[in-house]
Amino acid sequence: MNKTINQKAWFFVVPVFILVAFNAAIPLMTVVNYSFQETFGNNVFAWEGTRWFKQILLSERFHAALGRQFAFTFIILLIQIPLGIGIALTMPKKGWGVPVCLILMSMPLLIPWNVVGAMWNIFALPDIGFLGHSLNGMGFDYNFTQQPGDAWFTTILMDVWHWTSLVVLLSYAGLNSIQPAYYQAAEIDGASRWAIFRYIELPKMKKVLTLAILLRFMDSFMIYTEPFVLTGGGPGNTTAFLSIDLVKMALGQFDLGPAAAMSLIYFFIVLLVCWVFYNLMMKNEVQS
């Protein structure tokens, strides 16, 4: 077959090219630009090489924020994934309960993030908030604005409330796609409930769970709005996660160079973790 050669066809690619350039490449390049230079405004730049990168990588402030970030993400994954699977397993498979459960589960996902932060802020206020007041009434010394432990507890609780639903919905979809024959075969094979979960449900949910973990990792690793509204990173810096710290550096201190370098490092950490995790999960998958 003779291929028609028509170089004008490249024009069809132009819209996509422009779109990608403006929404990703150019902004990212700006950040790259800042990360290697020093600026004092007025478009005056001075070349700094890798100085900002070295500074960030060696800074204790960054290490602390990164440590807090990993701890937070690890804890919420540890809670949300099993809890999400557990809830999905107990949800009804048919009847009027299905829409009711699905709508209830979707609710938290539909609330704007700053509203979630504000809601939990008020909800947890030690003197007037329902949660804060009740906890204190029960004899706990609870004050998330003053005590780091309480601030962490509240932030984690808020995130679990906000995002477990996503894991539930994904797991539920995964569970529903399992052919009834699998359950019937397991019943005939005399499998226990645990064995059904371990050998049928969990393997069949692997793909959606990989997706759920990736999404929850990325979202929680980049979390900003909710803790910003709830605790503002405090008390002290105890809940200042990476993005909160980054914004402080970029907009609070106007250290654009180090902030740009930190953004890139931040971005590469997310990319690297996702890549490693995805490849580990998919290592044994058969190409089908």
Binding site: A181, Y182, Q184, A185, D189, Y199
Partner: protein, 354 residues
């Protein structure tokens, strides 16, 4: 090992049933002997899978009872019934090896590790899976996976019956034949009751000694493949089995004589009854011959399949298909045909008049 009896079984998936159409199964009575090979044959939606799931205990019938060796086990679950079932799509445990898949039903029943190992080895040998025992089951082809499902049924020595629910649906055509002969061979070797559900007449007729034909939730005929072919008791059987199926033509019965398009047709039985509802005559394309006089037909189309010719004709009473040797000379234009009396049956409301 058990004899299986189904007594007055009816099943409906609905809470309330108003008409026959609300029943997935109606008044099913079957006796299956121990060690036999049986097939349940019928089109999609005729109730054969429902019937199978009732026998295996995955479904509880709305009415009637299931007996194994004359013991009522209607309320028993599949484990208590000791049955094995192979499904349409190969069911395997993806994360386990082939060995662990085969060992799974035995482990669940608490057998000793050494017993399990010898059992699994024996079955793997029988199914030619020995070389892949340590591979992950998810990497196998569809027929390999289906062999595993089959193996999980065979590995238990105590099963009362092994049931197959259209097990070859997802298997490649050239492997279908191989697996089918494997099943037949296994049946002869282990001599256990096997029930095979299918909508494919070739599968049913080659596998089973006795075929149960189902239509709209009812059993229309039970018999050997030859009986089903030579003497269909219901027009559905005539139509469904055979390729092309039986010619079913409207006819009139007067004074014990069968009249089709103005001609008297000799049938294999004399009819004593009078006052009929809708009556039809049934004749297989194989049993129609050309002759000098008889029913006048117009030849419309002749298709040669290589082994035989299928002739589409038109008579004043309806279209008639004829099957003849590919060497037979086919008259062109118009011709006369006669029906072989021995294989000409008369049906009233689709049921044979005997």
């Amino acid at each position: 090992m058990a004899k299986i009896t189904l007594k007055d079984l009816s099943h409906s998936y609905l809470e309330n049933q108003d008409s026959n159409a609300d029943w997935a199964l109606r008044e099913v009575n079957i006796d299956w002997k121990d060690g036999g090979a049986y097939a349940l044959l019928g089109p999609s939606g005729c109730g054969k899978t429902t019937l199978l799931n009732i026998v295996s205990g995955l479904l509880k019938p709305t009415k009637g009872s299931v007996l194994f060796d004359d013991k009522d086990i209607t309320t028993f679950n599949p484990v208590e019934r000791d049955i094995a079932q192979i499904f349409q799509f190969p069911v395997i445990y993806d994360t386990m090896t082939v060995y662990d898949n085969l060992a799974f039903p035995l482990k669940n029943r608490g057998l000793l590790e050494s017993e399990i190992a010898s059992k699994v080895k024996e079955i793997a040998e029988m199914l030619e899976l020995t070389s892949t025992l340590n591979n992950r089951a998810s990497g196998l082809t569809a027929d390999g996976k289906q062999k595993i499902s089959l193996g999980r049924g065979l590995v238990r020595s105590d099963v009362n019956v092994i049931m197959f629910d259209e097990p070859l649906t997802v298997i490649d055509p050239h492997l279908k034949w191989v697996l089918r002969s494997k099943l037949k061979e296994l049946h002869q070797k282990i001599n256990r009751t096997m029930i095979y559900v299918t909508h494919d007449q070739t599968e049913a007729l080659t596998f089973a000694d006795q075929v149960v034909v189902m239509h709209e939730g009812q059993i229309v005929q039970t018999g050997t493949p030859v009986e089903l072919f030579e003497k269909p008791k219901h027009t559905f059987v005539g139509h469904f089995i055979g390729s092309p199926g039986m010619n079913i033509l409207p006819c009139e019965i007067k004074n014990g004589e069968v009249n089709f398009s103005g001609k008297k047709i000799p049938s294999h039985k004399t009819i004593k009854k009078s006052n009929f509802n809708r009556t039809q005559i049934g004749i297989r394309p194989e049993f129609i011959n050309f002759s000098n006089n008889g029913i006048p037909v117009k030849i419309k189309r002749v298709s040669n399949t290589g082994r035989h010719k299928i002739i589409d004709t038109e008579s004043s009473g309806g279209n008639i298909k004829i099957l003849s040797n590919s060497s037979t000379e086919i008259p062109s234009g118009s011709a006369h045909i006669t029906f072989n009396q021995k294989y000409t049956y008369v049906y009233e409301d689709n049921w044979i008049i005997e």
